[in-house]
Symmetry: C2
Subunit: 779 residues, 2 copies
């Protein structure tokens, strides 16, 4: 733990928060350029085109501030209100767009639903315009055209020229502070617009309340409350300019605020230091000499604007943009150094380290430097009491598969804190549920299952510390037996969810069965036999929705009759969420052996898998399912969405395990590229990237909740994993080449592995793993 002083008070900054404090900055040798050995391979632009939904802007690892440009985001309607685009602009940026409306401080990385986009800042020159204008006619508002030729997106640094204003914009961050540097032409009418109406996932009425308090000629504090995907979210801020503004003002776009105070006593419209209302755009005016830079620091807090001021004071006291940038890049370098790889070419390194980068963006730190955070119960709590760092943004349907297992390996301290964050969420939940899709002190109930139990069981299987294991067991049991949640009583009664009760009865049954297996594993390790037995039995419920007459999982009604008129290729409306029966029939990660038996044995299973990767899926089967696109398809296998992520590894349970090896290598090569369109689907807060990292290293967690990884075919030539416990785990790949995708032998510390697995402790106790590669598979 790092103890430091904020405004005369002793505060505790937990080491896991990786707060970049000035003290730390000064104690380290900060490189002065952007050529750090591994950071240079990070290309945040990857995934920003079409489906990746990543953002190119600046952030430190797991930063609370993720500061990034917003492009055409929002078609602007005639009455001056934004129109939402829920899906396309999840990260605020689309590479093919031509304009930037400004730079906002909060983003999801790679999600399939949008929110956030807090506190849009846009510098302009000339006549003040408070409307963003339209992409078709950028001059109609404050937005500006830009070009990728002047754009630079690196870890913790983003730069672009705003062509309409001849302004160079640069961004960097600390954990809780965004720093802007705008270099102006000579002008007596420079403006900084603070658009508090800007939102990702915007619509009339989303802005619940906005409050700005101008505390001196260069400092503004306040907050905004929004009713979005996070239904009841308040983000606080403190904003500081490097130079006093000469005047300021705002416009309130709301039409439902009859009482505006008495303007005969004050003119509150200009230079009045308290601004509040439903829909506010503020502006600050400056003079600028040619080439003069105006810098802005924007600190965030989940708790109060005083908290934001304290965060700024602690993390970013001065005005040294490069120092902040370099400190953040050094923090990234340290994270990337946890896996040092050699590859056949630099392109693979770019994919790998960008995947590392994208894996370490969400969940984000959600607490002030003094440990205060807002809980799901809308009350203020302090994390220091429980000695953890509070995280938010858990996209668990996606991330329980590989991202959280990756954290158990590369971020064990954070992994423990994330479990503790989930247990606090459970404590604060009015219905006593672990998170499903939670963000910023809100639960959105997005997607299905209760996959927090997978994350927790996996952490326990892998001896992650930092939370109370028995309490965790109670929390997963309570969650999995919640009578209010998504047909659990029916699931308990019938052993599956009847078709008539749910549009996703089959996939939810399958997910519950896997989650139940996780609970069983956890109970076993913690010595609770009756829970182990109860949930082991529930874990077999997947069998109840399998229809042997057609060979697929299939919706079934209360009386046990399968649904008529069923199409196993269709991804929507057939009892599954975001997927078809082809893919979901393979979703039994915890019991591949049982699944093979159920579906006709080894040969039939191999044939099924082969067909999955080769059967062409016509557009009509997925064009209405947003998360599935042609980009992310390989045959009928969907790599661009999560439910299939384990499938390539299932060949390992058959008599043709080499097909896991060739298929994994094929996916690594076809679904990940260095370009803006380099991701075949939503990154989903790092799940797509985590799949890449594991698979490139040669192993993958098919069933989190077990401590075993399944072996595939490594992409790297070698890798060294630096563990938090001080040990290292080295991966050597003998005979690696583009053609040599088959593994003829694997040795752990010189002993040939007879199984297709290694365990977490094999890795964490340090050692050497050697793959011997060949262009031919073993028999």
């Amino acid at each position: 733990m790092i103890k430091s002083t904020v405004k005369g008070r002793r505060v505790l900054v937990l080491s896991t928060a990786i707060a970049i404090t000035m003290t730390q900055l000064q104690a380290q040798t900060i490189p002065t350029d952007q050529t750090l050995p591994l950071v240079k391979y990070v290309k945040p632009i990857i995934g920003t085109e079409r489906m990746g939904h990543t953002f190119p802007g600046a952030t430190v690892p797991f930063g609370a501030v993720q500061l990034s440009p917003e492009t055409d985001t929002i078609p602007y309607s005639v009455d001056g209100k934004y129109v939402p685009d829920v899906y396309k602009y999840c990260a605020g940026y689309q590479y093919d767009d031509a304009t930037i409306v400004g730079f906002a401080h909060t983003h999801f990385n790679g999600t399939g639903h949008s929110d956030l986009g807090d506190f849009l800042i846009m510098p302009t020159v000339g006549k003040l315009q408070l409307n963003p204008g339209t992409a078709a006619d950028p001059a109609s508002g404050f937005r500006s055209r830009f070009s990728h030729t002047t754009e630079q997106a690196a870890a913790n640094y983003y730069k672009v020229d705003l062509e309409d204003y001849h302004i160079k914009a640069e961004l960097t961050t600390t954990t809780r502070v965004g720093m802007h540097k705008y270099t102006f032409p000579a002008t007596d009418s420079a403006h900084i617009i603070l658009d508090m109406m800007y939102n990702l996932y915007n619509y009339p009425g989303k802005d619940v309340w906005t409050y700005l308090r101008i505390i001196n000629d260069s400092t503004v504090v306040g907050y905004r409350q929004t009713n979005g995907w996070a239904k009841n979210r308040t983000e606080y801020f403190a904003m500081q300019f490097s130079k006093p503004f000469k005047s300021y003002g705002y416009k309130n776009y709301s039409t439902t605020e009859p009482y505006i105070g008495f303007w005969r006593r004050f003119d509150m419209r200009k230079n009045f230091p308290l601004i509040q209302g439903h829909d506010i755009r503020a502006y600050f005016d400056f003079d600028a000499k040619a080439g003069e830079s105006i810098e802005i620091k924007m600190a965030l807090s989940p708790v109060s604007y005083q908290g934001a001021l304290d965060n700024m004071q602690e993390e970013a006291r001065g005005w040294d943009f490069n120092q902040i940038k370099n400190a953040g890049q050094l923090a990234w370098e340290k994270e990337l150094e946890k896996v040092k790889i050699e590859t056949l070419n630099d392109s693979d390194k770019v994919n790998f380290y960008t995947a590392m980068y994208h894996s370490f963006i969400n969940p984000t730190i959600y607490m002030d430097v003094d440990g205060n955070y807002k809980g799901l119960d809308q009350q203020i709590h302090n994390a220091n009491d429980s000695h953890f760092t509070n995280y938010t943004t858990f996209s668990l349907w996606d991330t329980h598969r590989a991202l959280h297992p990756l954290f158990t390996l590369l971020q064990p301290k954070r992994a423990g804190d994330m479990v503790e964050s989930m247990l606090k969420h459970f404590d604060q939940s009015i219905i006593h549920m672990l998170p499903v899709w939670s963000t910023y002190a809100n639960e959105g109930w997005c997607m299905t299952g209760y996959h927090a139990v997978s994350v927790i069981a996996d952490a326990i299987a892998k001896n992650i510390n930092g939370f109370d294991q028995q309490k965790a067991l109670q929390a997963v049991i309570t969650t999995a037996t919640n009578p209010l949640y998504d047909n659990i009583p029916a699931y308990e009664k019938y052993g599956y969810i009847p078709d008539s009760l749910s549009g996703t009865s089959v996939s939810t049954t399958l997910e519950y069965a896997y989650d139940d297996w996780c609970i069983a594993q956890m109970a076993k390790k913690l010595g609770n036999d009756s829970i182990y037995e109860q949930f082991s039995k529930r874990a077999m419920n997947y069998k109840n929705v399998y229809d042997p007459s057609i060979g697929y999982m299939r919706p079934k009604d209360k009386n046990g009759v399968f649904r008529k008129n069923f199409d196993p290729l269709e991804t929507s409306g057939e009892g599954f969420i975001e997927g078809n029966a082809w893919n979901y029939t393979l979703y039994v990660p915890h019991d591949p052996k049982g699944l093979i038996q159920l579906t006709g044995g080894d040969k039939a299973f191999i044939k099924r898998l082969d067909a999955l990767f080769t059967t062409y899926l016509p557009d009509k089967y997925f064009e209405h399912t947003e998360d599935i696109t042609r980009d992310g398809l390989i045959g009928n296998y969907v790599h661009g969405n999560e439910p299939s992520h384990h499938i390539a590894y299932l060949y390992n349970w058959t008599s043709e395990p080499w097909k896991t090896q060739s298929t994994v290598r094929m996916i690594l090569k076809s679904q990940y590229h260095n370009g803006p369109d380099g991701l075949g689907g939503n990154d989903d807060t790092g799940q797509m990237s985590a799949w890449y990292i594991f698979s490139a290293l040669g192993f993958y967690p098919v069933a989190p909740g077990s401590d075993l990884y399944n072996l595939g075919s490594p992409l790297v030539k070698s890798a060294t994993i630096q563990l938090e416990n001080g040990k290292t785990f080295a991966i050597k790949v003998v005979g690696q080449s583009e053609q040599n995708v088959y593994v003829s032998k694997v040795e752990l510390d010189g002993k040939t592995l007879s199984d297709k697995t290694i365990s977490q402790s094999d890795i964490t106790s340090g050692g050497n793993l050697t793959f011997y590669m060949s262009n031919k598979h073993k028999k």
Copy 2:
């Protein structure tokens, strides 16, 4: 101070808060009926008809909860939205109405603008209706008809039968908790409606956000944020039922909340324990046997729902309605005992003790039992650090005249706390201003002047403790020289506010001049000569707006030319706020002698005063000025509104002081009655009532900021003032009768007074004041 334990924590309950704790309850002998000797004279119904704007419901002295019925309040528009009635329903109740829509927990007493009305509760029986319905057709909604024959309104107790449902409703309170008792007929469909959309001063968009959390089968917590007269106000609550509800639900009337969570995972519409949105009405269902009572406790907090729970735990642990009621009535009795009077008849006692009651309602306590409160800066502060009780609702344009001076006499500890509350407001004000019209952590800038300085100067003149005097001096100077506020720079430059800059240039100039005199007095006492001189000079600015050619104060432009086409009878648009030149010309409370000289000397002044009280003012001169009505007029003198309240006492500076005596007695008799229409104008949070108390006792603070009271003609036969310092001050009136309105002699401790004044210290040092009455005036 009383120390007590809340949930295992030691908390400090300041004695001034008069929190009715269970500990106190148990330690006292609680009378079991409502016949306490003085409480029985309190008739909260006085002022509830037409213009008084008082409420008849239950409250303890200065209670944070003021729980009262809401009558026809709201014409209901076709689209399901309320239409605001800003003025008529300031207190939520009008005596002439025929229906009750429910019972709400916060009210202003006697104001001229509405807000509050938090958390309307309405019990019903039969088919659930979530709309209030219309007064014309009560059956169209949940409202009920009622009759005054079943109504009882006493100090801290209100009872009425809800005829449409055969429910008896009873209300009582502690400082922070409202208690409801509803006695039902036999039914299997009793409902308690919790209407979170109900507001006083309502309009679409006023409800910013509503949050309900059902924490068990009989407890609900939450909050509501509103954008009303207080622009950014959040009130938190904790609500407990004496009996578990059998089911519950809500309706969200908002049309701008696209994301509602996923109903396929939960049905959130019924029996789901988290309810939130813009516009919420919730309901709770019960069975009831004939004559069964369901009780409800509703605790409020300015800080958090946990604060509300703690408040409930501290103040109202059990379910003994009578104990709570009796404890509150005992608290009232103790307040009323501070002035024991004998009168010619009971009617005067009713007026007097009801005036005492109405004077001790606002300002209200605005902090939790643990000292936490929300500041004007929207941050949470703790009052224990500064050892004060935080108060809110300062209607200072009204109350600086007599209500706050009354507090210096009868509530000196509270008076100090109120000044400290104002100084905290100053600290928290972004523009460094003392309160103008502040309420619930908001400043509304209503009305004119900076009259907090009058209250503070008066407190210093009268040796009130509990705040830092030098800091107070800085605060009043900063306030009075604020370059942003209402034309202060022009006032400083010209010595008056030019007509072109303000619609109320003359009255504001006059008010500033008086306030400046207050600052001068305060500076003098605190030894700051230069400030004394500076503000003594400013205090003479009243002379700058007097036009000797017509004999009235009159708007004047920058070049010194008086406005043409000026009508001194007109109350609107002639340079004055809520008053005409006739009344405002007499508004120089700090320098009557100078005013007499300015306006032509003694005889002319007497003639002017005589004319004021006798000149008939036709309707056309005031019918567009809400706060002035025929009820409150005596000739052209307006007792129903504040600017004239000192005028009757001005005869004391002339050669015919007996006219003060007869006029005061005439006003006491004509403007105050025992009936619902017993107040001739808005009580204005107690100012009308405080005028009555002082005048009935025989003296009045013409110029707060001085420690002198001006003598009038007492209404009482005798009075004993029990002072907080333990001393008593006795008033005897020899020869009192309805006819003997003239004072032939006054003795203080046996010595005849040569002057027409007594000082605060004359009173607070204890002693005897004897008036000798006659039916003829002297000379």
